[in-house]
Symmetry: C2
């Protein structure tokens, strides 16, 4: 994206390997940044998303990718980082009404904090995070008020902030629906077959029944974009009795 | 500290193994909390502080100690987590005037974020951090305005905060000098011989010349409390040519 000899402003992009963060990286590059991806190996049961993150970083042209190991299993308290079972086949009304057991305590706070540290070291002026407040599974740390508050805190915590160059936190997807994110990604040339969303994959297959699969599937349907994801369960209702 | 049968309120205490965090843990127990310590194995060159943290947690009577592995070396940018040399024999005026190379980008932000996650899982209502804004080596994330801002952000990021039980961040040492902290620790029964401060230890010995050793040494002198620390260098000036 950036021509040799031209110095682009730098940014850090949180890249999980999911659909949203891929669109976010594409947006950062579209905005003219030299984009440095950061990913987290945090003991998630869907570690396969890290392979997706590496594929996406390479395909879209990130300037670097840093993967940080962090043992969130030592904290536990979530279906994603402990032996608690990932809920399946939840109704959409339940998904937006409560904070689910897949919520990892303070995860986005931890991830943004680490990304702020990397931004400081890389000399980045902006930080992209692909949270969205509409189809967001009910996580408190995906809301705009959290992002705004974090910006203020990071400005006080870091050398760059103290020196008058506070990091700008950008959440370009925050007001988009999953369908809008998918359509926007298509317009930016994102190859969604490289991304991974499932919380509880069965080998290489997405389960098709966790909240994340349901949001992804519903998003492609609503966007009218073909979903090339290989799901183990073709329909949540039909497969209710399967393992 | 807590009698069997009586349910004490819970707190999480950031326990590095240094002098300040030991006093902080003693304060939390003195305040009547069931105290859960959290320590970080973050690739620090002074990993020996983790042994000190374990000794202190046991000696003072923490209810649990959780050590979280987190690879801050992947971020780098600090003398504590990379091959950059730890500065020695700096004058006190220089120590308070600038942010030193031992500053680990966004470290307290990262540590407080992880501690907030543990607090949520443990059902803790308070979080103790032993920062102090006087003898603080010039780190931006040790200032009261940072702590206040973090409290607001954590309340928005966590399930507990959303449910109206925001975590109370307590920084009881924030306005104390190193000498005051030491005297306070003595009054709370802290055995400082268990603690470790040096950034660049030589085997079991403290170097005696890094900022942290200088602050510790000066603090004991000013407090009029005997310093049992084994220093490799007896006087900074005299030892300038030594390895």
């Amino acid at each position: 994206m950036n021509k040799p000899g031209k110095t682009a402003a730098r940014c850090v992009v949180l890249l999980s390997g999911g659909l949203d963060s891929a669109v976010c990286l594409a947006q950062a590059l579209h905005d003219g940044f030299e984009a440095h991806a950061i990913s987290f190996d945090y003991g998630q049961r869907h570690k396969t998303e890290l392979l997706a993150a590496a594929r996406i970083a390479k395909a879209l042209g990130a300037a670097s990718q840093t993967t940080i190991g962090i043992d969130l299993r030592a904290i536990g308290g979530s279906a994603l980082t402990s032996d608690i079972e990932v809920p399946k086949d939840r109704e959409e009304s339940a998904m937006s009404a409560e904070i689910p057991i897949t919520y990892v305590p303070a995860r986005n706070l931890v991830f943004l904090s680490l990304a702020s540290g990397l931004a400081e070291v890389r000399g980045a002026s902006a930080l992209y995070i692909g949270v969205n407040a509409l189809d967001y599974s009910g996580y408190p740390d995906c809301r705009p008020e959290f992002i705004a508050s974090f910006s203020a805190t990071a400005a006080l915590a870091t050398k760059a902030g103290v020196e008058g160059r506070p990091l700008e936190i950008r959440a370009p997807l925050i007001a988009m629906s999953k369908a809008q994110i998918i359509r926007h990604g298509v317009s930016l040339g994102v190859d969604f077959s490289l991304t991974h969303s499932c919380y509880d994959p069965i080998g290489e297959l997405a389960c098709g029944r966790c909240d994340s699969c349901k949001l992804r599937r519903g998003g492609f349907e609503a966007a009218g974009v073909p979903d090339t994801t290989q799901y183990a369960a073709t329909s949540p209702k039909r497969e209710r009795g399967s393992p």
